[in-house]
C-alpha cells in the first residue's frame, strides 16, 4: 500500500525518541555488539529499488536518495541509535532561555571532499536555498518557516534565530545537512552539475553515478572522525523485487527490504539463514482509513466509530501480514513517547457497530437491505490505489459493511489521480498511510485550520480542544508537559475516530552476515548517526568472491 506518508519531512527521518529502552515486543531486535575486530577493505553492496533523481541534498525527495546522501553528508545534529539528539557536524549547541536562539558551533577543521573548510556560511547558504520559493524544497521548508534569520558571527558559529517559540526547533536542526556554498555558488542551482556529482563532507565521497545502474561511493580518508572501514559502497539499482532477492541470494547484494511474501516463504531455507540476518523493525509509519468528516455519512462520530468496529483489523493483521504488524490506536509512532500505550485499539464488534448506527439514525426502514436516513442511502465510495493490499483492505470493509446494511463501492485509482483527490478532499473514504517524523507535532494533519486544498487534514477533522492542544504542543518545551499534551491529543482523536487507525507494519530487511557492525535502531539500520557508515566486511570475507 503506497499511500501518503507524513507531511513535512518526508521519507526520511531518523527515529522518534523512544520513551524508554524497551522496544515493543517483537520490534527492533538489536544485534549483539561486534566481537570481531573490524577489518578494512571490501565493498558493501546496497540495493536501490529506483534510481535517484538528484544527489543535491536540498532537492532530494525520496528514501533512495536519503540512503545515498547519508554517506555523503553529515547533519548538524542527528539522532543516535538510542534516539537521542547528538551533535554531529556541530561540536556543541546552546539554546537561549527564551528558546528563540540556538547557537551552533561547528566542529573545527571539517573539510568538504574538495578540501575547502565547512563554515557557517555553508549552513546559511543551505537554509537560504531551502527557503527560496523558486526551489522546490517543500519537504524541508516547513521546519524552517518559523526561522527569522541565521546569524554567522564567525566562520564556525551559526545562530538560528526563531521568530516565535517553536518546540520542534532543535529537531529541525537534525533535518539540516549543509551543502557547499563554494561549489553551488551563483550558477543555476536546479541544473548544477554537482547535483549528479555531489561534493559532501561525510565518511564517503562520491565516485560515480551510472544512470539506472549503479551509484558508487569511495571511503573519504580525510573524514573528520574515524575513517570508515570499507573501501566502497555501491548501490545497485534493481527495480524488480523478485530479481533483487535473486541477486541477494547470489551475493550480488548485501541487503534489501523484502516484501511480506518473500519474508515468509522465500527467505527461510537453511542456506539463506546461514548467510543472512533477518531483521525487522517498526519505522514511524501507520496505515489508516480516512473518513471524510464533511460527507453526509461520516460527519457523525458515532458512525465513524461504527466503521472502526466493523473493520476486523486483527484478522487483517493475520491474513495480510501474517502477524507482522501492530494494531495502533492513535496518530503517533508506536515507539514514541507521544504514543499513549494505555489506549487500546477498538475491538472488532459488529453488534456494537449496529447499535451505534441505529443511534445515529441510520436505519433500514424500507427493508431494501441498505440503511438510510432522511432519504439518503448509506452507500459510499471507498477509494484506494491499485495495490493488492489496499484492495484487501477495501474488500474486508465491503464484506463487513454489507452484513449490516451499508453499501461500499470500491474505487481503485492510479497514483497521481488518487493523491489529487485526497489532497482536495474529494472522496468519501480512503485507505492511506502516514510516514511520521521524529517530532510528534501533528498540527499539519489534525488542526482544523489545515484543511484542503492547502493543508493535510484531508478528513476535515475539527475539534476545538484538539486544536488548542496542538497549538500548545508547538510551544511547550518541557518534555513531561509536552508528553501530557500529546497523550491527551491521542485520547481525543481516538474518541472522535476521524481515521480508523489500522496498523503499523514493520520493514523487513535481511542483511548479509559477512557484514559486521550492523546496528538496528528502532527505525532500522540507516536513519540515525552513524547508521551504516561503519559497516565492515568480516575478515574472512574480504577477499572472497564478491
Amino acid at each position: 500500500m503506497r499511500l501518503l506518508r507524513h507531511g513535512v519531512l518526508v521519507a526520511i527521518l531518523v527515529v522518534t525518541a523512544c520513551s524508554n529502552d524497551t522496544d515493543r515486543e517483537g520490534a527492533a531486535k538489536r544485534n549483539p555488539p561486534p566481537v570481531e575486530q573490524p577489518a578494512y577493505g571490501g565493498t558493501v553492496l546496497r540495493h536501490l529499488q529506483s534510481d535517484c533523481k538528484t544527489l543535491n541534498w536540498v532537492l532530494y525527495t525520496t528514501v533512495y536518495e536519503d540512503y545515498v546522501l547519508r554517506y555523503l553528508y553529515d547533519y548538524l545534529l542527528d539522532y543516535d541509535a538510542d534516539l537521542q539528539i547528538v551533535p554531529v557536524l556541530a561540536e556543541s549547541y546552546d539554546i537561549s532561555k527564551d528558546h528563540l536562539r540556538i547557537t551552533v558551533t561547528l566542529r573545527d577543521s571539517v573539510r568538504w571532499h574538495d578540501g575547502e573548510f565547512v563554515t557557517s556560511d555553508d549552513v546559511k547558504f543551505t537554509v537560504d536555498k531551502i527557503l527560496d520559493p523558486a526551489i522546490p524544497a517543500v519537504n524541508k521548508r516547513s521546519w524552517f518557516e518559523k526561522l527569522d534569520k541565521i546569524e554567522t558571527p564567525d566562520h564556525r558559529t551559526a545562530v538560528f534565530v526563531w521568530s516565535e517559540p517553536y518546540a520542534p526547533a532543535l529537531h529541525a536542526l537534525t533535518q539540516l545537512a549543509p551543502i557547499p556554498k563554494h561549489v553551488y555558488g551563483q550558477s543555476d542551482f536546479m541544473e548544477h552539475p554537482a547535483n549528479r556529482a555531489p561534493v559532501g563532507n561525510g565518511a564517503f565521497k562520491f565516485e560515480e553515478w551510472r544512470t539506472s545502474q549503479t551509484i558508487s561511493l569511495l571511503r573519504n580518508d580525510d573524514y573528520y572522525r574515524d575513517n570508515a572501514y570499507v573501501d566502497r559502497v555501491v548501490f545497485r539499482i534493481i527495480p524488480d523485487q523478485a530479481v533483487a532477492l535473486a541477486a541477494l541470494k547470489t551475493g550480488e547484494l548485501d541487503e534489501m527490504k523484502v516484501r511480506q511474501l518473500q519474508w515468509e516463504t522465500q527467505t527461510n531455507d537453511k542456506e539463506f539463514l546461514k548467510k543472512f540476518e533477518k531483521s525487522y523493525y517498526y519505522v514511524p509509519q501507520y496505515n489508516y482509513l480516512a473518513w471524510n468528516c464533511r460527507s453526509v455519512w461520516f460527519k457523525d462520530k458515532r458512525v465513524r466509530k461504527a466503521m472502526t468496529l466493523l473493520f476486523d483489523r486483527q484478522s487483517l493483521n493475520e491474513k495480510v501480514y501474517s502477524g507482522y504488524a501492530e494494531l495502533v490506536s492513535g496518530p503517533f509512532y508506536i515507539n514514541s513517547w507521544a504514543y499513549d500505550k494505555s489506549i487500546d485499539p477498538l475491538p472488532f464488534d459488529p453488534q456494537a457497530a449496529k447499535k451505534l448506527l441505529d443511534e445515529a439514525g441510520w436505519i433500514d426502514s424500507d427493508n431494501d437491505g441498505i440503511r438510510e436516513r432522511e432519504g439518503v442511502n448509506f452507500e459510499f465510495e471507498f477509494s484506494s490505489t491499485g495495490s493488492r493490499i489496499a484492495l484487501e483492505f477495501a474488500q474486508l470493509l465491503q464484506e463487513e459493511c454489507a452484513k449490516v446494511g451499508i453499501g461500499v463501492e470500491i474505487r481503485q485509482l492510479e497514483g497521481s489521480t488518487y493523491f489529487d483527490k485526497v489532497y482536495k478532499g474529494e472522496y468519501d473514504a480512503a485507505a492511506l498511510s502516514w510516514r511520521l517524523d521524529n517530532d510528534p507535532d501533528i498540527y499539519d494533519t489534525f488542526h482544523s485550520s489545515e484543511v484542503p486544498p492547502i493543508g493535510l487534514n484531508h478528513t476535515f477533522y475539527s475539534n476545538t480542544t484538539v486544536d488548542s492542544l496542538l497549538e500548545l504542543g508547538k510551544v511547550e518545551f518541557d518534555p513531561d508537559r509536552r508528553r501530557e499534551i500529546y497523550h491527551r491529543v491521542h485520547r481525543l482523536i481516538h474518541e472522535d475516530q476521524p481515521y480508523t487507525f489500522v496498523n503499523s507494519v514493520p520493514e523487513k530487511r535481511p542483511i548479509s552476515k559477512r557484514i559486521g557492525n550492523v546496528v538496528i535502531s528502532p527505525d532500522g539500520p540507516f536513519r540515525f548517526y552513524p547508521g551504516a557508515i561503519y559497516w565492515f566486511i568480516k575478515s574472512d570475507f574480504v577477499n572472497a568472491k564478491k
Partner: protein, 325 residues
C-alpha cells in the same frame, strides 16, 4: 520515386503535428500534475496556495494547455525538447544516455528474429504437414503464449540463481571495467543472453508463423506450379520464386517492428535492470514528466512514420508490380 518520397515526407509534417497535438492534450488532461506527484512522493503536501502556484509557474504549468503546446512546438522547432520536471536535466540528454542500451538489446533481438524466423518459416511451409512443421509449430505457439515476464523470472531462477552461470542484472558486472578487453566483451555478451532470449522468442514465433503462412500462399500459386512443370529443382523454386514473394508481407511487418527498436520493452528492462528507454518512458508517464513523455512520443512517432515510409519504398524492390512513378 523521388517526387513520391518528397510528397510522403511533406505529409509527415501535418501527421506529426496531429500526433503531438493529441498526445500533448491527453497527457496534460490526465488527472494529477507533476507538482501533485512531488507532493505525493515527498509527503510534504502541506503547501500554501502561493507556493503551489509558484511551483506550477516553475514548471510552466500556469498557462493554459494550448499555450503550453505552442511553446513546446516553438522549442521543438529548434530541436529543444525542454527539461525534465523530475531532475531538471535536458530531455534529450536523458534519452541519449539510455538509447544505446535499448538499441543494442532490441537490435540484436531483431536481427536474431529475422535470421531465425525466415528460414524456419520457409522450411515449415515447404515441408508443411511434416513432423518438423507440426512439432515446430506447436512449440512456437506455446512460446508465443508464454508471458515474457514469467519466462524471464524462470530463466533468472534457473540460469542466474540455481546454476549460477548467467548474470541477470544490468549490462555489465560491477568490476567489468577492470577487465581486459576480451573478458569485458564476454561479460557484456553474457549479460545480454537472458534479456535477448526473452525479447526474441515471442517475435520469433510470431514472425516465423507469419512467414510460413505467406509462403504457403505463394506455393499454391499457378506460377510455382509452372516453375515445377518446367522442371526447376526445388531449391531454385524456393529461393528464386517463393522467397522473394514471401518478403512482401514481411516488409510490412518490419515497418512495425523497427520503431520498437527504440521504444524499448518496459517489462523486460524492468526485470533485467536494463538502463533503457522503456523504463524512462514508464517513469515519465507515472510522474507526469510532460517534457520527457512528449520528447519520447515525438521520437517514436517520427520513427513509426519513417519506417512505414521505408517499408513502402522497399515494396518497389521486392514487388515489381508496385511502382510510385
Amino acid at each position: 520515386m523521388l517526387t513520391y518520397t518528397l510528397r510522403r515526407l511533406a505529409y509527415l509534417v501535418p501527421t506529426l503535428l496531429g500526433i503531438t497535438l493529441v498526445t500533448f492534450f491527453i497527457i496534460s488532461l490526465a488527472p494529477g500534475n507533476p507538482v501533485d506527484f512531488i507532493r505525493g512522493e515527498t509527503m510534504s503536501a502541506r503547501i500554501s496556495p502561493e507556493a503551489y502556484d509558484e511551483m506550477l509557474r516553475l514548471y510552466g504549468l500556469d498557462k493554459p494547455i494550448p499555450v503550453r503546446y505552442v511553446i513546446w512546438l516553438k522549442r521543438l522547432a529548434t530541436l529543444d525538447f525542454g527539461k525534465s520536471f523530475l531532475d531538471h536535466r535536458p530531455v534529450i540528454s536523458k534519452i541519449k544516455e539510455r538509447l544505446p542500451a535499448t538499441l543494442i538489446l532490441n537490435g540484436v533481438s531483431l536481427l536474431l528474429t529475422i535470421a531465425f524466423a525466415i528460414p524456419f518459416g520457409l522450411f515449415s511451409a515447404v515441408r508443411h504437414h511434416s513432423r518438423f512443421d507440426k512439432i515446430g509449430g506447436t512449440v512456437l505457439y506455446m512460446l508465443y503464449s508464454l508471458p515474457e515476464f514469467w519466462v524471464a523470472i524462470m530463466l533468472i531462477m534457473l540460469f542466474g540463481v540455481k546454476l549460477d552461470i548467467l548474470p541477470f542484472i544490468g549490462m555489465e558486472s560491477l568490476d567489468a571495467r577492470q577487465l581486459s578487453f576480451g573478458s569485458y566483451f564476454l561479460d557484456r555478451v553474457l549479460h545480454m543472453v537472458l534479456p535477448t532470449v526473452c525479447l526474441t522468442y515471442g517475435s520469433l514465433a510470431f514472425l516465423s508463423r507469419f512467414v510460413r503462412g505467406s509462403t504457403l500462399e505463394v506455393i499454391r500459386q499457378d506460377y510455382i506450379r509452372t516453375a515445377r512443370a518446367k522442371g526447376l529443382d526445388d531449391s531454385s523454386i524456393v529461393y528464386k520464386h517463393v522467397f522473394k514473394n514471401t518478403l512482401i508481407p514481411v516488409v510490412t511487418l518490419l515497418g512495425i517492428l523497427l520503431p520498437a527498436l527504440i521504444s524499448g520493452s518496459i517489462i523486460l528492462e524492468y526485470i533485467f535492470s536494463w538502463p533503457g528507454v522503456g523504463a524512462l518512458y514508464f517513469d515519465a508517464v507515472l510522474s507526469r514528466d510532460y517534457p520527457t513523455v512528449m520528447g519520447l512520443s515525438f521520437i517514436t512517432a517520427v520513427l513509426v512514420l519513417l519506417s512505414t515510409l521505408v517499408a513502402d519504398l522497399l515494396y518497389t524492390s521486392v514487388d515489381p508490380r508496385v511502382s510510385y512513378e
